[in-house]
Structures are given as C-alpha cells and as structure tokens.
C-alpha cells in the first residue's frame, strides 16, 4: 500500500493528526524543563491515546483511560511533584543528566528494532474499527477472564494497603 492510498482514507488523516499531537506531547514530557508542564503534557499524550482507542473501536478502554489515567494518575503525579518539591523551572541543571546523546542513541536503537521487527511481521494487515461494546466486554470479563480479573483486584488491594503503610508518618 502506497502512502497516497493510505492517506486517502479519512480515518488515516484523523490518525495522523492525533499521532502527531501525541508524539509532540510525549517529547515535551521527556524534555520539558518544568515538571508541572511535563505532567500536563502527559495528559495530552494520554488523551491522544484515548482518541486512538476510539478509532480502534475500544470505547470502554478509551473512557477508562480518561477516568483512571487523566483523572486519577496525573492528579497523583501532581501531588507527588508538590510534595517532593521537584524543581519547577528555577533549577534546570538538576532535572536531566548531562549525557543525553547515549540515551538518545539507545532510544533510537529501541525504535529501530521495534519498528522493523513489528512492521516486517504484520505488513499491511487491515484493522477493523468495529466497536467492542461495554456489555460485551463485561460479559467476557466476568466469564472467560474472571480469574485474572480477581487477581488484578487483589493486586490493587495490595497496592492500596502498601501505599498507605509506606506513606504513613507514624511508625
């Protein structure tokens, strides 16, 4: 499939815009001098991922990302930034390593490996945007995947108790 054929579909133009915004926001997350800006750029990247999930028809996953990631996890990050008094722009030297090029080289190698390995394995396989409804997902989650579901809920309970025990002041 050539690029001209690919860009001819309306969905792909939407995808291209969303992914450009996502990649820009992700780059800002890792290079921003201001910690709060990095956390807010993560919101933009996660909102882009929710839009990609909507394109793929996984609407329940998309709204879960909005609720849990954007609603809870990023707020938790902002509290963490506030409590640990992370530098918010005044002390830029403390935020990054000075050796950026080896890290950039490793990241480029990871991208090259992942991109070539996955694109060579699944060339041009079509993806359907058929909607996986919340009803369908709930049915499957409580029948076929009920044991993993219980395990995950136990992990969440352990994390809850562990978080409280670790962050408590009186011990």
């Amino acid at each position: 499939m050539t690029f001209g054929e690919w860009i001819g579909e309306t969905e792909n133009i939407v995808f291209l815009v969303i992914s450009l915004v996502m990649v820009g926001a992700a780059v800002m997350v890792v290079v921003s001098r201001n910690v709060v800006h990095a956390a807010l750029m993560l919101v933009l990247a996660l909102a882009g991922s929710a839009a990609v999930f909507l394109l793929l028809g996984a609407e329940f996953v998309a709204w879960t990302v909005v609720l849990i990631y954007i609603g809870a996890v990023v707020v938790l990050f902002l509290f963490g930034i506030m409590i640990t008094r992370a530098p918010t722009g005044r002390d830029p030297a403390d935020l990054d390593h000075t050796r950026r090029w080896p890290a950039a080289l490793v990241a480029a190698a990871v991208f090259a490996t992942l991109a070539t390995a996955t694109t060579m394995a699944f060339e041009d396989r079509p993806v359907s945007g058929d909607i996986v409804s919340a009803e369908e997902l709930g049915d499957v989650l409580f029948s076929r995947f009920v044991i993993p579901f219980e395990v995950v809920s136990f992990v969440l309970l352990a994390a809850l108790i562990g978080g409280i025990v670790l962050a408590r002041r009186d011990r």
Partner: protein, 101 residues
C-alpha cells in the same frame, strides 16, 4: 486502517519513554516516562485486538488489566518516592547509591 501505523506509533512512544527513563534524574519524572511506555503497550494490545477481533475481545481486556496494574504501580511508586524524599530530602535517582557496591 492497517496495523502497521499503530505499531509504529507505539514504537515511537515507547522509545521516547525509554529516553525519558534514561535521561531524567527526578524520580517522579522517571515514573512519568514509564507511563508513556505503558501507553505504548496499550496501543499495541488494542491494535492487535482489533486486528484479530476474536470473540473474547482479548486486546481490550488485557489493556484494561495493564491500566489497573499501572495504577497500582504509580500508587506504590509515588509512596516509595515520598518515603525516600522524607529520609534523604531529595528525589534524585543518581543519589540513591546505597545498594551500589
């Protein structure tokens, strides 16, 4: 839509996250970069789920599991960062060389 476009987007996001984990010194920012990597994994899972479109909706279900585990990881991770900050008044990962021989 073909599956390659989602795979390349996910690979790009994952490698940006790798760069962030390697280059950032503040522990909260390292956790932010890890969230980027987990988002890339979720995009891959949902894209493969939409590609095979099986009866169990496995891609979406496993993406939900990844989201739940990521939430647990952030909660515990930030509690540990908070504890380290309280003990050493710094959240800099370079200074945490207590277990380095």
């Amino acid at each position: 839509m073909i599956v390659n476009q989602f795979l390349i987007l996910a690979a790009l996001l994952f490698s940006i996250g790798v760069y962030g984990v390697l280059v950032r010194r503040n522990a909260v920012l390292v956790l932010l970069s890890i969230e980027l990597m987990l988002t890339a994994v979720n995009i891959n899972l949902v894209a493969f789920g939409a590609m095979i479109s099986d009866a169990f909706a496995s891609g979406a279900v496993f993406a939900l599991f990844v989201i739940a585990v990521a939430a647990a990881e952030v909660g515990i991770g930030l509690a540990i960062v908070l504890l380290i900050f309280r003990n050493r008044s710094s959240a800099n990962v370079d200074e945490l060389d207590l277990m380095k021989w």
